[in-house]
Symmetry: C2
Subunit: 198 residues, 2 copies
């Protein structure tokens, strides 16, 4: 059966499980949401949040040099064991992250890495665009909140759309999928992106 997209979104939101796992669960439950949640729970897929507190001090350093060598990325992705670091899934993901960063340069890995000043500066710019609009302050505040989400989705790697497969959602969603699959805490720790002349 075809899976209802809204159900899929709701299921992801409710369980934090990966896209593919949710899809399979909904197929298995014939679209029954409660049953799908149970299936996911039984499968132990709701792991991402549980794993998040576990030490991730293994992993891989991966690079991507975009031919002919005017642009390059170095990225560190951590997991809990060298066993997982050696899996094809992990290595493939790491490589894709490096290529993603090359193509869609973020400024930081996650929102938490943005400085207070950077966030304040962005809000000020947005405010200056709106303050003569005649709209009430509470509305302006809401509009700015919305536009800040856009700002995050451009400048924070985890909030960016996952370029390898936009259907997955964000980079964070792709990461969640991987955590669900490999059952370890996985963290994109840091990256460097150099291009000639920048």
């Amino acid at each position: 059966m075809a899976v209802n997209l809204d159900d899929l979104k709701q299921l992801r939101k409710a369980t934090g499980a990966g896209m593919l796992d949710c899809k399979k669960a909904l197929e298995e439950s014939d679209g029954d949401m409660q049953k799908a949640i149970t299936i996911l729970r039984e499968k132990g897929i709701k792991v991402a949040s549980k794993k998040a507190s576990r030490d991730a001090d293994e992993g891989l350093i991966v690079s991507y040099i975009h031919p002919p060598g005017k642009l390059g990325v170095l990225v560190e992705i951590n997991c809990e064991t060298d066993f997982v670091a050696r899996t094809e899934d992990f290595q493939k993901f790491a490589k894709h992250v490096a290529m993603h960063i090359a193509a869609y340069p973020p400024s930081v890995v996650s929102r938490e890495n943005l400085s207070e000043e950077a966030i304040e500066a962005e809000r000020k710019v947005l405010l200056s665009q709106l303050e003569d609009s005649g709209k009430p302050a509470s509305i302006i505040e809401k509009i700015i909140d919305g536009r800040m989400e856009k700002f995050y989705s451009e400048s924070c790697l985890l909030d960016q759309e996952w370029s390898d497969d936009p259907d997955v959602g964000t980079v964070k969603d792709a990461l969640t999928d991987l955590i669900g699959k490999l059952r370890e805490n996985i963290v994109i720790n840091r990256f460097a992106r150099f291009s000639i002349g920048n």
Copy 2:
């Protein structure tokens, strides 16, 4: 004939030319220093300082991942034209620099990249080791200057011994050799070095 090592050092100091060029010049002049200098001048090898002011906004981004992927380096090396960036000499040098940084981690590219605070902090540590020595202040100052050179030769890439061939001298010497050979200003601009767990 065998080249006298002291002559070689003196010639390099006098001309700023590369190791190999100096050696060849001394061989050609049968060890005559003045003649060797003239030979080098005629060959136009004393180029490094002349080139230094020219724009280097081309180049390469090169990476080195040390197997099995727990350590990686990304480095940007600039030159003046894409033509030089594509030469085997340039690419080989860039690759060696990346491998060198992996093996002998510097903190910065050159002394100029060290903060005043880092230099002051180091001098203070050295001073605290010497202030009870009973030596006069002027002597202590000289000892500290000497030890600072050692500090630079460990923490600044350009002051480190060139690991690909210690006979060449420092990384800066190897760079000078390359500039003499390729006749363009060449700059090691920046690097990132990630290792798992650091």
